[in-house]
Symmetry: C2
Subunit: 265 residues, 2 copies
């Protein structure tokens, strides 16, 4: 019997402003029955409160502490391993706030910087690249919030954190040392710590094989792939990454896992 549930957000719980079939019904029932629930997003552009408000508006009331973003994980990890160190965020305001909130000191002085944190940054420019470069050449560690190549938007996709990581790798000749977001162990750890349960007592539900399902499989967590997002049955057949369960949509979650919840909406 599972005690904790980890849901990917985009493509699993909703897409754009639309709930995925069964999301509200199943999550509400899990909540009512007292299961622990957290929600994951690799996207570092919004605060956790933004995601909590967004879910509220979609009829899924959640607490801000149930939201785990890659920015939050980065701050959480640094606060646990090197609290008070000086960081230079190549990222947007929500990342800066998460890092400050985790007790980190923000600086643009390459001689002071202990960590360069590369992230999805729509204000990325050459001067930021130069600060990151000088800091890393001066001995700063090079880490990142999320590894995503692109971010889906209304009419397609736009460059994500892989652009900033690639620029810094290109000029320093050094590979990024650690990435906080999926499929990183750090994101699993943050989610598990929030739920306060053992990994084997958790279920991770997501729509992406290479991030969601890989992360669960790699860290001893039962996984459920939901086919409402980017992955088709054909993709699944062609991939070496296999989830524990496959769900057409979230309505199938209770019966597949024999959760003793009523099915249907």
């Amino acid at each position: 019997m599972k005690k904790g549930f980890i849901f990917d957000l985009d493509g699993t719980v909703y897409r754009s402003d639309e709930l995925m079939p069964g999301a509200r019904s199943v999550i509400t029932k899990l909540d009512v029955q007292g299961f622990g629930i957290v929600f994951l997003s690799n996207k570092p552009l919004h605060s956790r409160q933004y995601y909590a408000d967004n879910l509220d508006q979609l009829g899924i009331p959640v607490d801000v502490n149930q939201i785990v973003t890659s920015s939050y994980v980065m701050g959480y990890h640094l606060s646990e391993t090197d609290k008070g160190a000086t960081v230079y965020p190549v990222g947007e305001e929500p990342l800066v706030r998460e890092l400050k909130g985790s007790g980190m000191v923000i600086s643009e002085d390459p001689e002071e910087i202990d960590y360069v944190v590369a992230s999805f940054d729509r204000n990325f420019h050459y001067d930021k690249l130069n600060i990151a470069f000088q800091a890393i050449m001066n001995g700063a560690r090079f880490i990142a919030t999320n590894p995503d190549r692109t971010c889906p938007v209304k009419n397609g996709e736009v460059p994500d954190a892989a652009g900033m990581i690639g620029a810094i790798e290109g000029v320093t000749g050094k590979k990024v040392e650690l990435v906080a977001g999926k499929p990183s162990k750090l994101m699993v750890k943050a989610a598990i710590d929030r739920l306060d349960v053992e990994p084997e007592d958790c279920l991770l539900v997501g729509d992406r094989l290479e991030t969601d399902i890989k992360m669960g499989n790699d860290h001893g967590i039962t996984t459920a792939l939901v086919l409402t997002g980017v992955t088709s049955r054909e993709d699944l057949a062609g991939s070496s990454i296999k989830p524990t369960y496959v769900l057409e949509n979230l309505y199938q979650l209770p019966e597949k896992l024999d959760l003793g919840l009523e099915t249907g909406s």
Copy 2:
């Protein structure tokens, strides 16, 4: 007997505003005796006229057509292979001028762009990365002026074109297809075409093993490493790249090559 001479500029002919020992004396003598001479730079931040003026001021009068930069090579290559095509330069004004001067059409519209040209760009920012990304995803070719990780400046070094290349590679998942600058075949070709001699009748003089000497060796050109720049005898001993000649400074060029020029200054 050599007929054409190809000189790297920075570290070989001068460093910052200072001529290297023997540079003026030897280059003037080669010129007086009617040898063909061209000068190479990977740096895409200045026009060829800028380099010609700079050499003039240092006492080495040259024609603008003797200067071969990576921006020039890029324009020259495109004009020979796809004249009139539409390019998006991720670079500074001198690159834009070289490309226009070579008969290329400049555009920021991803649907029109045939080639994204990544370069050293101190005005690089996210919006440029996004245009490059959208264009390449739409089928544009991805090429670059020069592969340099960093560019030396007065008090150290700053990010060079490898930053812009790395950012675009990171978000597109595609490797740059072609680089114009050293050690590319394209730069050799542009220099040889300028000199109008056969490769085996040329000598290439430079201070860098991985760019200057490698490029000469790879393309059938006799090479001379000059030890006035970044390479020491120790570096040379530890490298698999070996020049034909090794010169303490340019004064040694005539005697080593038995050019029949007077030595000394």
